[in-house]
Symmetry: C2
Subunit: 192 residues, 2 copies
């Protein structure tokens, strides 16, 4: 194996993600080791640690991309768009990204649902997304508490839409569920 | 001290909470030990552990009371009250409880804001409150996703109102801030 180390490996990151998720589904998150993930992916542990800090981070590495996408979508919305609309459009775009990996997302969610520590990590990532969204709104000139409130409400909608997406047998599309959930929030807050 | 152990101590729980918070403010959460908290309260470590699992739980013990209050307030709202109104009234009642301990709450929040682990714990407690609220709404016959969405939106409002309450120099009343924030959420989701 020594001769192989450090060699460029095509799509190492994606292969590690796929291998990790397979093993977490088969054996459980706790029971899986980094050595096993690397072996399943046909890579070395050293390669694993070039891409991920630990076996937990494999499941959350996508959150940074999602956050960047949300922030730039809010930043790029036309000035005339109200804050809630900018957030809804950003979350729909993020939903479109996740929709492209729907099988991966569903299986990932099953792994997270089975482990309290991973659920806590997910909550923390969602709170970071809300902070980032609020920051992007403030940059558009939205004052607090409106910026924080819009961001937190948006993440609440996203969370509920995501839960429906991974659990409903009819396999609805995530961006559509996000749009619907914003409509429901509007009706609910109006007391309907 | 042996003769004292097990003796009934008047308001041991409250004295331990007060002593713990004083020490967390003075020395920082990480630097404080259970032995020091017990000593400051004039009690034994054994008494501490009869009331709290560890030094972190001293800060979160109130969340169970809050949850019970929220659940029974939602359960007790008249049938004619829309879900968002039942949740808003429950959170205002909880805000009234916190308002009675406003100095404690402000100092507690400063301790939590200074420690990432405590912030994570706070997020988890808020997520539990949202789940409990959603459960209480389902018992009123509110279907999902409306139940979850209303509960999550309510907790988002509560979080923002709470942050304003502990940070604003003008010392507004928490129930009032919660009521205002529900109004703002309504306006924001309507795209205003």
């Amino acid at each position: 194996m020594i001769g192989v180390m450090g060699r460029w490996e095509p799509n190492a990151r994606g292969r590690l993600e796929q291998a990790a998720l397979e093993l977490y589904v088969e054996r459980g998150f706790e029971q899986t080791t980094v050595a096993e993930i690397a072996e399943r992916a046909g890579l070395t542990e050293r390669t694993f640690f070039r891409h991920f800090a630990d076996k937990r981070e494999v499941l959350f590495a996508g959150a940074d991309n999602l956050q960047e996408l949300l922030v730039s979508a809010v930043a790029g919305a036309p000035d005339s768009v109200p804050p809630i609309e900018a957030v809804a459009a950003a979350l729909e775009a993020a939903g479109g990204l996740l929709q492209q990996r729907s099988e991966y997302s569903r299986r990932r969610q099953a792994v997270i649902a089975a482990n309290a520590g991973l659920q806590e990590r997910e909550l923390i990532k969602l709170a970071s997304l809300a902070s980032a969204l609020a920051g992007a709104l403030r940059k558009r000139g939205v004052a607090d508490p409106a910026a924080s409130l819009t961001a937190e409400a948006g993440i609440a909608v996203f969370k509920i839409a995501f839960e429906r997406w991974v659990s409903e047998a009819s396999r609805p599309e995530l961006p559509q569920l996000i749009r619907e959930s914003f409509g429901e929030l509007q009706a609910l807050t109006a007391g309907k």
